[in-house]
């Protein structure tokens, strides 16, 4: 099995999707001959031509509006927004249009072919405009699906599933891991299920839930906890909308403790949604309060990024507090 980094896995998924279906069209700022500023679309223009892989003018609302129209026509657009921080000019097109196309037309029209890819997250010394984790704005939007892979294998399988999914999908790529996360990825076509969480590690004392780049951080915290004899169960949500509550419930019924971690600010963050659902469904089984380890309720900083980010030590402390509650 070949080894790939996350960018190569994404590129490989796009290549497979484009080869299989000539309705698949990739576009965005700098994605053409240059292959995107992170090079996720490298060589696609060479292979599939300028009409199927191209640079757009610099206008995010245009990119997604165009993609909505294209998807409504029956094409399969995979639009790239260069950084998740710059998705907001397209917010109206995503939240009011992509998400509501099917509903408002009574399914006369839909934009199910649409996939929006965008790099998100911190840890790259990018300051407040190259580090945001905007997932929560979108998880508040019925009609969208929100998917976040954690490594190259997941990225390829989930992206292929997203492109073929009958609903519009926002695909958030943890850019800190683009080159840092390397692993075995099958050369052939495969899909991973959207809407299903994955139990990465089984354990009896405590459940840890996260997604994307936080999974690596959670992994490190769990190693520290195991040294103290605490057995953690680790769940990667993979899809935030619709999210797989059953898998988390099942785990918490067993462990009685839950910690959720994300990079975005605490207030209004997706961890709040998970905490509320789990306390509703597992109240009598909880042995300590559900804890959230997140970014601060501030914009993303630069110099003090390390202090800001939820890291393995902060998660480890939350584990200890939970166990000693």
């Amino acid at each position: 099995m070949p080894t790939m980094n996350m960018l190569q896995a994404i590129n490989n998924a796009l290549d497979i999707a484009m080869a299989e279906d000539d309705k698949v069209i990739c576009f965005g700022e700098d994605v053409g001959v240059f292959g995107g500023v992170f090079r996720a679309t490298s060589h696609l223009q060479e292979k599939y031509g300028k009409s199927r892989c191209f640079n757009t003018p610099l206008v995010e609302q245009g990119i997604i509006g165009f993609a909505n129209g294209l998807a409504a026509q029956g094409s399969v657009p995979v639009a790239e927004i260069q950084f998740a921080d710059y998705i907001f000019p397209a917010f109206d097109q995503i939240v009011n249009e992509s998400a509501k196309f099917r509903y408002r037309s009574g399914d006369l029209f839909n934009v199910g072919g649409l996939t929006i890819r965008t790099p998100y997250g911190g840890g790259i010394a990018g300051g407040l405009y190259h580090s945001q984790s905007p997932e929560a704005y979108f998880t508040h939007t019925p009609g969208l699906k929100v998917v976040v892979p954690r490594n190259p294998y997941q990225a390829k399988g989930l992206l292929l599933a997203a492109i073929r999914d009958p609903d519009p999908v926002l695909f958030l790529e943890p850019k800190r891991l683009y080159r840092a996360s390397v692993g075995e990825v099958p050369q052939e076509d495969y899909q991973l299920p959207i809407g299903e969480a994955e139990v990465i590690k089984e354990g009896t004392d405590m459940t840890l839930v996260g997604w994307g780049a936080q999974m690596e951080v959670i992994g490190k915290a769990v190693e520290l906890a195991e040294e103290q004899g605490i057995a953690c169960e680790v769940i990667d949500l993979r899809t935030l909308l619709p999210w797989d509550a059953d898998t988390v419930v099942e785990s918490v019924l067993k462990t009685g403790r839950l910690i959720v971690s994300h990079e975005a600010p605490l207030t209004g963050g997706f961890a709040g949604e998970i905490a509320a659902t789990i306390q509703e469904r597992c109240f009598l089984y909880l042995e300590s309060p559900i804890a959230r380890v997140t970014g601060l309720d501030t914009p993303f900083p630069l110099v003090l990024e390390k202090e800001y980010l939820p890291d393995h030590l902060k998660i480890f402390e939350a584990i200890r507090e939970s166990v000693n509650f």
């Binding site: 700098d30 003018p57 610099l58 407040l128 630069l302 390390k306 202090e307």
Partner: protein
């Protein structure tokens, strides 16, 4: 104004093409028929010195970035005349709202090398408190709005700011810089429309440098550049040779008059070329030919202005050499000082989010402090700010 015709008449705009206003040829000679602007000696020297200083700062900081001393940098190379020429035509108290590649404007207005360095290194003296990437400068004193990375957001803000200036009746205007790429954003169109409808003293200054990262202007727009868009908004417009500081100066000077005296917006499109990479993270060899860059090097805006000044006897070879040496030394010395300074205090994480720190933020901050006290080695900057003992050899612990 209904003007009927009785045969179908489709128009494309190809009927006219915009002329480019240019005064100096690449040899620093005035073109035939060109009229030298009224630019006194000292003003001309100030303009030139700011262009030169910008080039030197850029060269040094790019080298510093390559040495790993700086995380990121963006050069203005090739566009110094456009930026400094425009700034020199304003009143120093007019507002500038820039995109990010306009360090020349600050240089002209007297932002000190110390001030540049403090922002570039995000230290405790950085006005922005270490929150933004390098080059996102701001100066209230110099009427230069702090840079925001999301492109084009400053353009409608400039319309609003200038409308306020008009109401205040203070005789000032706002100039906003942006790239030809950013002019594709919806914000650009919203800004021009509102400015023309509401008769606002704002100057929209497009630096058309041919590229938006890797995207050439031929893939950015299908028309004859940005300037003709003004017609649709019934707005004054001029296209100018962006490598000719004198022409940029004169065009902007007159644009300012229109803005301030008639309360009308003006669009200026300066035609230039981004000689350097988009940023220190970019490599243009992946998307454009070296020969294209070389052709533009022959039109270097700094050499052109220098030649003109030398011919007039307003500048000398000796001044050129000593100015360059002084600046290089100054930049290096100042950089060494700025690098060593402390990071912004830990509290800067939670200040300025709101006018007052909210109870919830305070709670989060107290928790963070307790955590850092427990693991000072893992957060050397935070620990330093809390005066905790840290073994600095573990500074690089963790990823990033």
């Amino acid at each position: 104004m209904t003007n009927y015709v009785h045969q179908p008449l489709f128009m494309t705009g190809d009927e006219f093409s915009m002329a480019t206003f240019s005064l100096l040829d690449p040899e620093g000679e005035l073109y035939e028929g060109a009229k030298e602007p009224d630019l006194p000696r000292d003003h001309a020297r100030r303009l030139y010195q700011a262009m030169l200083a910008t080039r030197i700062l850029d060269e040094r900081m790019m080298a510093a970035q390559r040495q790993g001393r700086l995380s990121f940098y963006m050069q203005s190379t090739g566009e110094e005349a456009a930026v400094v020429g425009a700034t020199a035509a304003l009143d120093d108290a007019d507002m500038i709202m820039a995109q990010y590649r306009e360090q020349g404007a600050l240089m002209y207005r007297g932002f000190s090398i110390d001030e540049f360095m403090n922002q570039l290194f995000g230290n405790e003296l950085d006005y922005g408190k270490g929150r933004q990437m390098p080059i996102h400068y701001g100066s209230r004193k110099l009427h230069y709005m702090t840079i925001s990375s999301p492109l084009a957001t400053q353009i409608p803000q400039a319309t609003g700011y200038a409308y306020g200036q008009k109401l205040a009746g203070d005789g000032h205007c706002t100039l906003t810089f942006f790239g030809e790429g950013a002019a594709s954003e919806g914000d650009f169109h919203a800004a021009l429309n509102m400015a023309s409808v509401h008769q606002v003293p704002v100057i929209f200054f497009c630096r058309n440098n041919g590229y938006a990262i890797s995207t050439p202007s031929t893939e950015q727009f299908a028309a004859d550049g940005i300037a003709p868009r003004a017609f649709g908004y019934h707005m004054h417009v001029i296209r100018v040779d962006g490598n000719d500081a004198l022409a940029v100066y004169e065009a902007t000077r007159q644009a300012r008059q229109i803005a301030v005296e008639q309360n009308k917006p003006v669009l200026i499109e300066a035609m230039s070329y981004r000689l350097a990479a988009h940023s220190s993270s970019d490599d243009p060899s992946g998307y454009r030919a070296k020969s294209e860059e070389e052709a533009w090097r022959l039109k270097d805006p700094i050499l052109r202005m220098q030649k003109w000044l030398l011919k007039k006897g307003w500048w000398s070879e000796e001044e050129e050499t000593s100015q360059q040496e002084t600046l290089r030394r100054d930049v290096l010395d100042t950089m060494k000082r700025a690098e060593k300074r402390s990071p912004p205090p830990l509290e800067s994480l939670i200040t300025d989010v709101y006018a007052d720190i909210t109870p919830e933020l305070q709670r989060q901050f107290d928790q963070l402090k307790r955590h850092i006290r427990r693991y000072p080695e893992a957060y050397p900057r935070g620990a330093r700010s809390l005066d905790l003992e840290v073994n600095t050899s573990t500074d690089s612990q963790g990823e990033a």
